[in-house]
Symmetry: C2
Subunit: 530 residues, 2 copies
């Protein structure tokens, strides 16, 4: 496999030479374009790029880029277990978590040191599925013999944002479908108010805690574990009857009698890519039942399979990635907004913020040499229509252009609605979404500059019938794969996170009482660290 | 008062001519600098700019800019009731909401059409304070005679984000201080799943709804009002015993027998600046008691008073604004991250995102002519330490620089903590914060490019003893005033939001069945609007 910096490719030159029509694509947006510029994204979802400012010239050059950088070949190599995470010398196997029959999407088994990893992941999935069923059936109970009614995840970063976003995304769907078992909550921050508040809300004698740390050494998570153990003990509850761990087999949390059980992942599952492992699977299976979690995996698998297609017009994640590269490197837009028109996806932008910015916020290539082009953008977002009454002002009329990624569904999750002025709220929600896309693209001239909309603000839309587990799995995998493809284009390692290390080291120094830096001591002093 | 485009000022030339040392300020960060580069921000808070890359040359030029654009003069004109919102021809009077004795911070009364507006605002404050006390005392009850235990705000944008952020910021403090009366929830989105879920969680017979819409015509809010009325009726509860309105005196919601009572604001209180009016005040007074809300107003008033100081080094909001201009227009950073090391401030970044991006996301000056420089940045953020395990990777090691605004407190709110490895969690939280500031500024060299941190990433810090109502009020006002000063520098109108109009118009067209745009119809079709 050839790994080349982006600016050394022929495609880079070709893309650089294309006219940057950027703001002038408004005329492109016809009904015909809306009807034809779309591609299946798995799980019943469709990716529409009609309102993106790309035509044949750009698409041809982006196809050439995909071919030259062999993006599909690199994806296959990743799937088959090549050491794609060069910094940490690790395989990257989150796709295998949702592989069918323990095989990679390519149909191959992934073996490491004689261990079939697909089978290992499948076996852990079955273990925690069974565990969840026993809890739901009241066969596994808390210390006082009460059934568990509540689950609290203790984890941070990838052990929090993805699982939380997915839980919220399905909470109302599950209630409507009669698949709501345990009520879930999350503790993440080392701020003690976080753990203290959640501990006060959860009925401790009916609560099972899911302690998630791959290494078993995460400062925040271990502090919060002891916080909770202390609460359990003070309530007269044996902590070992109320905690399960999700960790790696080599961590101090593994096979530890302090826990009801432990479920395993390994170093080939990166934190921000771990939502489809036990990191997300244990709490989602406890909350909604393992069948729901498996539906989510099936949706992700569908998206993973579609991502193998070499034709950019037939591969939603690849096309999304490449249009993003066009906007980032050639139009110079340094951010992307994620705008789900679905309250259920309220924390999905926060997950994608981590997924994208932690994966591709890199300034060196996979060999550690500085790159000379922009990599990952800043990602932010809030649900619509809320955002319309907030930061959309800047998106419409600011001095800079922010590319937009909309998400929307035909149907609500709870199917509980009211007709006002001849339409239900769900229809208003969708009408707003359609209107925004067109408003951003086409704008509006006005003799009063204050009321003028320049338009030319590109957006894509991912849409589907209803946000259900399969659609959600596909949505998650779509973005994971998009980010992966962009990393391949930029020739960076999207799977490590060395940028978190320096802060950890300095924090330890501060806490040890010897920071070795007078400015750091001065900050510690004004914050009252001592 | 002279209003001049930023690029026509002498100061603009002077600032343009300064060397852009940007990345090379690392050496500046000494203990001495941390100890001296700070200024009081009101409410017991301090603004520290030690880790910002500005020295005497920049500060002198920024002072000259403040003087030339007469930022303090413009602030005083605003306070005294000049028509600062040129687009809508309105006064801008949110400071007067927290004025003492109904007077502006300048000590003057603000009279319009013979009406003393300070007295009007003070009178409304007293009216809803009394109302909240009667509810808390069980003198005002629900339809079945039960005391109210729960309050739900129905509002969107400025009627949601600010009040919600402030409620969450004080929820744990109030529990600890014994000032927690009604439990608050919020309905904002037109997505019916939002209202349906909240209606299912709130005990309807013990719930008072606060319906907030200044115009009384907001589509989302009116739909959600009818949604809730329907639920109340189906539960056999008379809606008029369960809803109060916060609106303007000319709105259809005013003096309407459909509500228990109505509390008033006027057109001089912009939505995103309305948190210190009844828009935030009714729900916060119901939740925590009016004395707590008045403490918050006192903190805001303190910050407003400090913002009158012409010396940039003695005026936290002004200095913050000017450093932001330096970073936006001369260093070219298109975004700002808000990073509160306080779980209580989890939604404060979302409020600031609205405040800043809706105020200063403008491409024309206050007279409607296009400006030829960048205005408001993209604002995003999440609490620390959560963010450290998420998007901080890009902040440390991405190809672009994102200016950072940290917030931190000495003490937790709940004072419920655990000692692990020799320190409590609150100490770990603060140690992390101190470490991050220094890591961002100083970086770390390494022979392995992957482990190298370039540093030179500027941050400021707002810190205080504990997040209480007074500190929170000052924090809110600090950012309101920062955004205002930046708008004055850029000669834009920070107080209208014409950018929301086009989407509203197109949405109405879609819902009327005649959009007049084939592409819009095509989007409506794929989303199933019909």
């Amino acid at each position: 496999m050839k790994y080349v910096d982006f600016d050394k490719t022929e495609a880079f030159k070709k893309l650089s030479a294309l006219p940057k029509k950027g703001k002038d694509f408004n005329a492109l947006l016809s009904a015909e374009r809306v009807k034809t510029s779309k591609v299946a994204a798995g799980g019943g979802l469709t990716y529409s790029w009609a309102a993106k400012g790309v035509e044949k010239a750009e698409l041809d050059a982006l196809q050439a880029l995909a071919d030259e950088q062999d993006l599909i070949g690199k994806y296959k190599a990743l799937l088959d277990g090549e050491i794609i995470n060069t910094g940490e010398k690790r395989k990257v196997l989150h796709h295998l978590l949702r592989g069918q029959g323990g095989l990679a999407v390519t149909g191959k088994a992934v073996i490491a040191d004689g261990k079939d990893l697909g089978k290992f992941y499948a076996q852990e999935l079955e273990r925690f599925s069974t565990f969840a069923e026993l809890v739901q059936a009241g066969k596994i109970k808390g210390a006082t013999g009460k059934n568990f009614s509540s689950v609290v995840q203790i984890g941070i970063g990838g052990s929090d944002l993805g699982p939380r976003a997915l839980y919220l995304a399905l909470e109302n769907w599950a209630i409507k479908e009669g698949k709501s078992f345990l009520k879930a909550r999350f503790i993440s921050n080392v701020d003690p108010d976080d753990a203290s508040q959640i501990a006060s809300l959860a009925p401790l004698d009916e609560t099972i805690f899911v302690l998630v740390s791959k290494s078993g050494t995460t400062q925040e998570t271990l502090s919060n574990e002891l916080f909770i153990k202390d609460k359990l003990q003070k309530a007269g509850l044996d902590p070992s009857k109320h905690i399960v761990a999700v960790t790696s087999e080599t961590s101090p949390l593994a096979r530890n009698p302090a826990y009801l059980d432990s479920f395993y992942i390994d170093d080939f599952i990166g934190g921000r890519y771990s939502a489809t492992s036990g990191v997300g699977g244990v709490i989602l299976s406890l909350a909604f039942g393992p069948a729901v979690f498996k539906e989510l995996l099936a949706g992700a698998h569908e998206a993973d399979t579609l991502a193998l297609e070499p034709n950019v017009l037939k591969n939603a994640a690849l096309l999304d990635a490449l249009i993003g590269v066009w906007e980032r490197n050639f139009l110079g837009y340094p951010y992307t907004a994620i705008l789900p028109y679905s309250q259920a996806l309220s924390r999905f932008p926060a997950h994608l913020q981590q997924l994208d910015m932690e994966s591709n916020g890199k300034r060196v290539n996979r060999d550690g040499s500085p790159v000379h082009y922009s990599t990952g953008p800043v990602v932010f977002g809030e649900p619509g229509t809320n955002g319309q009454h907030s930061f959309f002002q800047l998106l419409h009329q600011g001095t800079d252009i922010v590319p937009l990624q909309f998400v929307g569904f035909n149907d609500s999750q709870r199917n509980d609605d009211v007709t006002v002025d001849g339409s239900v709220s769900q229809t208003k929600l969708k009408a707003n979404l359609a209107a925004q896309i067109v408003a951003f693209a086409k704008g509006k001239t006005d003799s009063n500059g204050n009321k003028e909309f320049p338009g030319g603000r590109p957006s894509s839309l991912i849409y589907g019938k209803r946000l259900n587990p399969k659609a959600l799995g596909a949505l998650l995998a779509h973005f994971e794969n998009k980010v992966m493809f962009q990393g391949f284009v930029w020739n960076i390692n999207s799977f490590d996170q060395e940028g978190v290390q320096l802060g950890k080291i300095l924090t330890k120094k501060v806490l040890s009482g010897n920071s070795g830096d007078a400015a750091l001591d001065a900050y510690s002093e004004i914050l009252g660290v001592k």
